[in-house]
Symmetry: C2
Subunit: 508 residues, 2 copies
């Protein structure tokens, strides 16, 4: 054990406690806090963010981290300590250039923004949210500029700096290439499939699906997929999401619609995928800086692996579809499992990202990616967003949102200050296909699904991804697991195969 | 505005934010957190308690508070600032003598103790909890001893020091007098009533009361009594309780039993009484040291005022009993409002404090008061508790608990480290009668109840008690409101009148 490391550890312990409290406050705001409390609670959030900042970034820590990072000291650290030191230096790089009072004001702003966004969405009025969003964007630009000035790379784009927070190692340049590939290979393919599918799209029966029954089924389904209720909690919120205080307290929320059965089912599988990741973090790194999923993209790869690759496959539903039918006998008795699978895989360009099918999903992300880049580089301002948004939807998805509520106001992310986050959704989706390709070679994954035994799948992912937390980054994990770094071609190939198969074999 | 005060205010802001986060963590532990998370979450609680401690008690604060308290500076402060300075000095007096590492270890211990207590209660096995409880008691004794040494009064009893935290101004001496009065005046009266009542006790029909319907009715009832859902949240927990992050985020929990309708109904009225107090705190003092109810006793006076004095009166139920009947038509159709009032006021010495009738309630507190005093003064140890407990129940209530679960393990309080807290329950009950006596002179309170208009009652209490928070102490508030300091005779008189009336007029 390093004495020097022991000296800075209490700073981390305090910082991580503040972060966990912030996580709980955020969870609580989304799932239960009273609406009129947000304004006051924002102050609590501001203060605790400050506690986090003061504890993680201060002269004593910086001095000692520099020493620990020197060759002589570093080699004496355990591999976990090494990972913590590296991560801590990253955190400092992100936070240090930002003046403390501005950081606190910013966190108080976003603590309030969620409510303002919700109000704007409810009223279907972007102008209710836009002044607040402009403030957030101004902070984002300012913070990125501070960080750019503090960094060595003068040519780096502001948007790259935001990406670093969510997807270390993935730059605008790499993402441009990735999205170019999607545009070039997927957009024409999608157009072909959409033409084919529009004639024979099969939907679940339009019916009322009792919410209490949905709630029960989804709870059961979470457990089936692997959610551990002794270490986790299910909640409800406007927008499903997942979070965690630590690996023994993982939380996912869902949202139920009486007229939409699919939404809650695939949300719960999605969020359970996130949860499995955090449950699987090794106890040795719990509540340390590296005791969380390595990146947003890798996290999203897990949620979307479970939601789409597994969760929308016939093999997955084979052992459990009858249970769903029993839950909704009137609605589903005449829906065969083939019909069901076809329905949950139908392709239909729509306005809402979270309701999008697997095939068109990345195009929703593409819209946001391009919009965010323009916003950061001041090519557009917040007031221009609805127009730009709608134009891009028209260009890539061939439809134009009928309202701001179903357009630019649909996601909560910008209200949380999460710019540079959306690309991770597409990236994660692509990563999940690369991982799946690897697993197909390693294990009889379809047999497991068919026999209702999901454990070996989870265990394999835990062994190769989850346990490490942030000790390894996305490309390191992928390289060790699949033999190569991120490669989007598995994703293109997966989609082409799946949808060619579905729209050839499933003629109705 | 005082510059010096402005210099210490940021310490308070940080401290109060940490305290609010701790409140949320506690609420969350009781209402939703996953069981396996508690061990890890205890670390978060320990760290945040430390943030609170460091922020509220440090050399800079102490130096500046002393200056602010000096005659010249003090007179320049606003009355709110003066109250904060006084309260802050109290907080320091309580916390300063305790070494920081011991305080943190203690908070981590009690953060875990709740789960251990729950397990012991579930298993009906005191030995599961006793080692943990002994640790808590050891800390309590040690901390009180530190504080005794730091104080000026060498003759003060250790138990007095604990009382200070909950009931400033009420010493063991005063409480001894209070409980002596109860023993002398109430015990014989109760024995007389019990003899009378045992022949003709009327209970609600033994039936199943659907929990979802109870939940709905209780939510409605909370609103009827005055709960503001835009600033408050209802939850569920093993043991009903109330808490608050600030006056715009007030939370109460309830517990439902299918075979017991009264439990949830009177719990929700009780907790709503607590909530009204916190809702009523003036915004000028929100999230300051004085922005909370002035004492546990005063708080309890409000919950028990609503639960018993109002909530068990016929006038209260007159406009709403039909709604309860409509909710449970099969169970209650043959129960007249007279029967109902008789049932909810029946006297029956029982084992469980929270289920106790209004008349025998203080005797449950008496048992705890005497037991705690013995524990603090080392006359007994934790291992002796079940025996002492059962003997005292036999002595005062004439019954002996059939199990630890229904005996010494029934309350969560000791697991939270709350020693010296129980007396406030009896004290608050007595205060509520004094307040009621005053209100009868001031306003047509029974008319208000009968017409379903509870607002003037709440407004009067807000004006004379709630708004001030800790700016005035219990006796100051009572003096200004009722013309005299605490006087237990109103309580004795109220009970004697009510139960004489009930058990004479309601012969069955």
């Amino acid at each position: 054990m390093s004495t020097l490391f022991d000296e800075i550890k209490p700073y981390m312990d305090k910082g991580m406690a503040a972060k966990a409290a912030l996580t709980l406050l955020e969870w609580d705001q989304e799932t239960s806090a009273p609406p009129m409390g947000a304004e006051w609670t924002a102050k609590i959030i501001g203060e605790l963010s400050n506690v986090y900042l003061e504890s993680m970034v201060n002269d004593d820590v910086k001095k000692k981290l520099e020493k620990l990072h020197s060759e002589k000291e570093f080699s004496q650290l355990s591999s976990i300590e090494q990972a913590i030191v590296k991560e801590w230096k990253n955190v400092i790089k992100q936070l240090e250039p930002i003046p403390q009072n501005e950081y606190q004001a910013y966190t108080e702003l976003v603590a309030k923004a969620g409510n303002i966004w919700a109000k704007a969405k409810e009223k279907n009025d972007f102008s209710v949210f836009s002044p607040c969003l402009q403030e957030i964007v101004d902070y984002k630009r300012k913070f990125a500029t501070y960080r750019k000035k503090a960094g060595k790379d003068r040519k780096i784009e502001l948007y790259d700096i935001l990406l670093e927070d969510y997807e270390p190692g993935f730059t605008t340049k790499k993402l441009d290439e990735f999205f170019e590939q999607i545009k070039k290979e997927l957009v024409p393919f999608i157009q072909k499939i959409v033409k084919k599918s529009s004639k024979k799209n099969y939907c679940l029966p339009k019916a009322k699906y009792d919410i209490e029954k949905q709630r029960e089924f989804c709870k059961w389904l979470a457990g089936y997929v692997g959610f551990d209720f002794s270490k986790g909690v299910l909640g409800e919120s406007e927008h499903p999401f997942s979070t965690n205080l630590h690996n023994h307290d993982v939380r996912i929320s869902n949202h139920f619609y009486e007229d939409n059965l699919e939404s809650a089912i695939f949300s719960i599988i999605h969020e359970t995928g996130h949860a499995l990741y955090e449950f699987g973090i090794d106890n040795e790194i719990t509540m340390t800086l590296v005791g969380f999923g390595t990146s947003m993209g890798m996290h999203e790869s897990q949620s979307r692996f479970y939601e789409n690759i597994i969760g929308r496959s016939e093999k997955f539903w084979k052992p459990i579809y009858s249970k769903l039918q029993e839950t909704f006998p009137e609605q589903l008795e005449n829906v065969s499992i083939k019909d069901f699978i076809h329905a949950i895989n139908r392709v239909e360009p729509g306005m809402i990202r979270t309701e999008a099918d697997e095939l068109t999903y990345s195009l929703h992300v593409l819209v946001r990616y391009e919009t965010e880049k323009m916003l950061l580089s001041k090519k557009i301002e917040v007031k221009d967003l609805p127009k730009v948004w709608n134009e891009k939807y028209q260009e890539y998805l061939g439809i134009s949102p009928d309202s701001d509520k179903n357009g630019v106001l649909q996601d909560v992310h910008w209200a949380c200050g999460d710019f540079g986050y959306f690309p991770s959704y597409a990236l994660g989706t692509a990563i999940s296909a690369q991982i799946y390709n690897n697993m197909l070679e390693i294990m009889p994954i379809e047999e497991y699904l068919e026999s209702g035994n999901l454990l070996p799948i989870r265990d394999y992912l835990k062994e190769h991804i989850y346990q490490y937390g942030k000790r390894k980054n996305t490309n390191e994990l992928l390289k060790e697991m699949t033999g190569e770094e991120f490669n989007a071609s598995y994703y293109i190939q997966y989609l082409k195969e799946k949808y060619t198969r579905l729209y050839d074999s499933n003629e109705k």
